[in-house]
């Protein structure tokens, strides 16, 4: 599949489609069946929470969804593309053009300003300097950090760092934003702010978001919840309003 085909995909169906996905780490005696048999779909504009005990396969699911990893068996279609058929570099291109990541540990580049962190995905997308600045500033605006562009990670609080990370994940307007326990390192008030921000981005910009969380309070912001246990989805709920 060419770089163009990977970067300009018009796709009508679901953004994410898991079909009997299993993931096994290691082999023989040591094999761990992280995902057993998982099938679900996520459509554009959804805000989905993923819950479950530690070790139930949430991160594995997120990694596969984010094209960082591939299923051991079953099929994962991202925007209609069977990810398993793609090379490492082709998956990198999919991530570059359609995916945004927010991590528990923020994962900003240290000793790098907020603005430069936001520019990073745009540089890989080869967006010219002036436009890059504008897009980065707009994203900083959207997360309410417009006057912090020259601060480095060390000069920002945890909540602010996570907002920069969210801005970095959405600056390219991805088809899917994946957040693995984004509030795990934050206090309740800060967590609340981050969730409100994500809900607003979903509401206002139609950003498709999948979020892993342990807390019902946080999951309540989403309109759909998938609950994992031992590598399977054991429960699914939908709510009408956020």
């Amino acid at each position: 599949m060419s770089e163009n085909e990977l970067s300009e995909r018009d796709h009508e169906g679901p953004v994410v489609a898991f079909e009997h996905v299993a993931k096994v780490y290691g082999d023989g005696e040591m094999a761990v069946r992280a995902l057993d048999d998982v099938s679900f779909e996520i459509h554009a504009g959804e805000f989905v929470a993923v819950m479950g005990a530690s070790g139930s396969g949430k991160s594995t699911t997120m990694n596969i969804m984010g094209c960082l990893d591939t299923p051991s068996s079953g099929q994962y279609l991202f925007k209609g593309v069977d990810v398993k058929t793609l090379s490492r570099d082709q998956r990198a291109l999919l991530r570059r053009h359609y995916l945004g990541f927010v991590f528990q540990g923020f994962n900003l580049l240290s000793r790098t300003t907020a603005l430069e962190n936001l520019e990073l995905p745009l540089i890989y997308r080869r967006i010219a300097k002036a436009e890059r600045r504008d897009m980065a500033m707009a994203a900083l605006n959207a997360v309410g950090l417009e006057n912090r562009e020259h601060h480095t990670a060390a000069e920002l609080s945890g909540g602010q760092q996570q907002r920069v990370a969210i801005a970095r994940a959405m600056v390219t307007t991805p088809s899917l934003l994946l957040a693995d326990e984004p509030t795990g390192n934050l206090d309740t008030a800060r967590s609340q702010e981050i969730m409100e921000l994500l809900a607003r981005l979903n509401e206002d910009k139609g950003l498709t978001i999948v979020l892993v969380t342990h807390e019902d309070d946080m999951a309540a912001f989403a309109r759909r919840t998938l609950v994992f246990r031992d590598g399977n989805i054991v429960h699914e709920t939908r709510s009408q309003a956020a």
């Binding site: 990694n63 984010g66 960082l68 990893d69 490492r88 570099d89 990198a92 291109l93 999919l94 991530r95 570059r96 053009h97 995916l99 990541f101 991590f103 994962n107 580049l109 240290s110 000793r111 790098t112 430069e116 990073l120 995905p121 540089i123 890989y124 997308r125 080869r126 970095r168």
Partner: protein, 401 residues
């Protein structure tokens, strides 16, 4: 793409200045050493060339017998004044011919004394050596004919023996002999392989033979070609004339030898070649050490930057983009180290040149080469760390603490 990679690499270098400096330190030192050596080497070489022209680039020296380095000299009859006269008579390509008998002698004036070079020759000597008088006069034909006790002195002898006293008309003692000073030679200064040219007393050859050596020998004959270009032809002519005068057995070596100033300096030049090779080896080793330094610190930095690499990969960096970024970083650091090394090297050479008494000659092509070479060292030694960075698994890299 390369523009973006350059931007990313530049930001990465700026992000950790101390690490960047440490990475490139070996290159800085290596290149600085190379530049110092090369610059001073060029200065020394230029100086040798200048000294050769000081001695006279058209000058040839004729020795009796073969002169072998290290070996026993061939036994050949010494020259006599007839040989000089024959050369003068039969040559077409020489501008001047002068006999030369040379010895180091104790020269005394009043309470002062000094071992100096005593040269027995005639008027032609100043033409052969391209020399001039600053005071007094040359020997007259009559003085040469009779071997009169007159002498011309060099500046060092004048300064050491006469201090500020008048010297013209005063009498020097040379062993049991003595001579009246009639002239002063223009100063020539130091010549690397002949010592102080001004530490000399010149007397008529006949005086030298009669009062100093006690024989009729002429040690060497100095001749001067009409022109620089004619030196080889003049040498051939001298050889022809001398071969006729002192025939050797068929197939045997000539009973004389002719050497130019250029040849006299070859010994020196071959020793500089050894020196250059030795120093080049040092330079190569220091660049190698610099390269290993780059590799070492970059390998450490790949481990240290594992999480950053994970972030880049999650954001969508491909293997070759991570690889290129690390390679470009290494090349930029090493190239920058090369530039700093060149600057330090030039500074060092500029400071050392006057101490070593050689001219400071900038070598632009060497500087370009040093720069290109250091960037290359960066690429070569940065490759392994860059590849290990590019091959990281993004999930593992992101989980890295």
């Amino acid at each position: 793409m390369i523009g973006n990679i350059l931007l990313l690499s530049m930001r990465e270098i700026r992000r950790n200045v101390l690490r960047s400096i440490l990475t490139t330190l070996g290159i800085v030192i290596g290149v600085a050493a190379v530049i110092v050596v090369v610059t001073l080497g060029a200065g020394t070489k230029a100086q040798v060339q200048e000294e050769i022209s000081k001695l006279g680039s058209t000058m040839l020296t004729v020795f009796p017998g073969q002169r072998r380095r290290g070996g026993a000299a061939q036994t050949a009859p010494p020259f006599e004044i007839d040989d000089v006269n024959a050369l003068r008579r039969e040559t077409t390509l020489l501008s001047s011919v002068a006999p030369m008998s040379i010895g180091r002698k104790m020269i005394v004036y009043g309470n002062e004394n000094r071992r100096s070079q005593l040269v027995g020759t005639d008027r032609e000597f100043v033409n052969v050596r391209n020399w001039a008088l600053t005071a007094g006069r040359l020997f007259s034909p009559a003085e040469e004919q009779s071997g009169k006790s007159v002498c011309i002195i060099g500046l060092t002898v004048r300064k050491e023996l006469f201090k500020d006293e008048p010297y013209l008309g005063n009498v020097l003692r040379i062993g049991k002999a003595s001579c009246e000073v009639i002239g002063l030679l223009e100063p020539k200064g130091q010549v690397m392989f002949s010592g102080d040219q001004d530490d000399v007393v010149v007397v008529p050859i006949k005086y030298y033979q009669r009062r100093i050596s006690g024989n009729t020998n002429v040690d060497q004959i100095y001749v001067s070609a009409l022109d620089d270009d004619l030196v080889p032809a003049a040498q051939a002519e001298v050889e022809m004339i001398m071969r006729e005068r002192r025939p050797s057995q068929p197939g045997a070596e000539d009973l004389f030898s002719v050497r130019g100033v250029q040849e006299m300096s070859t010994a020196f030049q071959s020793s500089t070649a050894v020196m250059t090779a030795f120093l080049s080896a040092i330079a190569a080793i220091s660049l190698l050490v610099g390269g290993i330094g780059i590799m070492n610190i970059m390998l450490v930095s790949v481990t240290e930057r594992t999480r950053e690499i994970g972030i880049r990969m999650a954001i969508g960096a491909r293997e070759k983009e991570v690889l290129l970024q690390f390679l470009v970083e290494a090349a930029m650091l090493a190239g920058f180290g090369g530039l700093v090394g060149i600057a330090i090297g030039l500074g060092g050479a500029m400071a050392l040149a006057p101490l070593l008494n050689v001219p400071f000659i900038v070598q632009p092509d060497m500087m370009v080469m040093a720069f290109v070479f250091s960037a290359l060292v960066g690429v070569v030694f940065g490759y392994m760390p860059a590849r290990s960075a590019a091959r990281l698994d993004p999930i593992d890299a992101l989980r890295h603490e």
